[in-house]
């Protein structure tokens, strides 16, 4: 037996959540399938004109990613809350914020990363040019972790409430709007021949801001919800 350090504790939390996700693969897949379905519904809704679809592609993919990530947020803390693991995490001899960061990272690997990997395939459905696709992927890589981090605050605040899922979206979606704007803006800038650097660096700034602030806020929200 030996005492564990902070990094090893974070790694433990990430590995645990990934292991649990592997044992419940259906949950991971449903989010991804939802993403694919929502994106595929748009051409059916607005018609198959390629020009319009090409123009819409980035927006559709981003909104769909936003909605899919809302879908999986409910699971972030609720299982641990119900079986008492969350109590034990709060009693861990390391900062709760860091454990929360570990959980958010695992959540992103399970529900955000698959969306990013799937996005190019769906982008091709919308006939997106390669350059736009590249910017879309970079944007999603920077933006989806922010969605997970902001969402974690909402998930912690709505822990154990009835109708938590819908309420969670109501709380979190407005806060995610800047991510959506900069993410789609980057693709649009590239497709109109401008540089996407400024959009992407703003996304990066949002990422850094979320990284330093949201784990702590989420930890406070969890403490409030555990009372």
């Amino acid at each position: 037996m030996k005492k564990s350090s902070l990094p090893s504790l974070i790694v433990l939390v990430i590995r645990r959540d990934l292991l649990l996700a592997m044992r419940r693969r259906a949950d991971v897949l449903t989010t991804l399938i939802f993403f694919v379905m929502v994106v595929s519904l748009f051409p059916l809704g607005v018609g198959p004109e390629m020009d319009m679809l090409r123009k819409m592609a980035a927006g559709v993919l981003w909104v769909a990613a936003l909605l899919s990530s809302m879908l999986s947020l409910g699971r972030l803390f609720s299982a641990d809350y119900l079986d008492g693991t969350l109590e034990q995490m709060m009693l861990a001899p390391q900062s709760l914020s860091m454990l929360v960061l570990g959980k958010i990272a695992a959540h992103w690997i399970v529900s955000g990363l698959p969306l990013v990997l799937m996005a190019p395939v769906l982008g091709v459905q919308f006939d997106m040019p390669v350059q736009s696709l590249g910017v879309l992927i970079v944007g999603l890589l920077l933006g989806t972790p922010v969605l997970s981090m902001i969402g974690a605050i909402g998930a912690a605040l709505t822990l154990g409430l009835r109708g938590g899922g819908v309420l969670l979206s109501l709380l979190v979606l407005p806060l995610c709007i800047p991510v959506l704007i900069f993410g789609t803006g980057a693709v649009e800038a590239v497709s109109t021949g401008l540089s996407a650097v400024s959009h992407l660096s703003l996304l990066g700034a949002l990422f850094m801001l979320a990284l330093v602030s949201t784990p702590w806020v989420t930890a406070q929200a969890l403490r409030i919800s555990m009372e």
């Binding site: 005492k3 693991t85 109590e87 390391q94």
Partner: protein, 204 residues
């Protein structure tokens, strides 16, 4: 040692207890008694820092637990109504992870030894969802064996346990007290620890 002074706690509008003071010294054990709804669980959860007391203070070795925070958590172990066990994981994984969260890295041998001592021989690698309620509680209680914590806060540790397991827990508590540990617990079943004076705290 644990010092509680002038503690007051309420749930909603209802005042559960107020003016509660006691101290617990190394090697002592204390049972919290009271009817259902008298605030036993709330008291234990306040000791864990989950609930904020309305008034009063809780000090560990002379310092408020609010200030100590993680340093306090390193020295205490809490076992609540919930087992903190995942159905999808097997007993071994569950024990190693919960010990890991408590800051103790456990290798497989140590974990298996602890589970066997809790009477789970042959069940180490079964998914916990096929175990009975009592067996799951044993998996949770196995944490007592591998923890280095000085203060044990146990909320109804004996629920769902059979006679043999209860005796085992009594033995564990006696060992812990002999190591100058401290225990504060609630129970509705009789629990005797040989050769130890049981202090009682009644909430009404």
């Amino acid at each position: 040692m644990l010092e509680v002074s002038n503690l007051a706690c309420s749930r909603g509008d209802h005042r559960l207890f107020s003016g509660l003071s006691f101290s617990l010294y190394p090697g002592q054990i204390m049972q919290v008694q009271g009817e259902n709804g008298s605030g036993k669980t709330s008291l234990l959860r306040t000791l864990c820092g989950f609930l904020m007391p309305d008034e009063g203070d809780i000090a560990w070795c002379g310092k408020s637990i609010r200030e100590l925070d993680e340093a306090y958590y390193a020295e205490m172990l809490y076992l609540g109504h919930l087992n903190a066990i995942k159905d999808e994981l097997n007993a071994l994984e569950n024990l190693r992870i919960s010990a890991g969260l408590a800051g103790v890295e456990l290798d497989e041998k140590e974990a298996i030894a602890a589970l066997r001592r809790m009477g789970l021989r042959g069940r180490e690698r079964l998914p916990t969802k096929v175990l009975s309620q009592g067996q799951r509680r044993r998996v949770a209680l196995a944490r007592l064996l591998v923890s280095g914590a000085k203060l044990w806060v146990l909320d109804e540790p004996l629920t769902a346990l059979d006679v043999g397991a209860v005796a085992q827990i009594q033995e564990l508590i006696a060992e812990h007290l002999a190591r100058q540990g401290m225990v504060i617990f609630t129970t509705h079943q009789p629990l005797q620890v040989a050769g130890m004076e049981m202090r009682c705290l009644s909430l009404s």
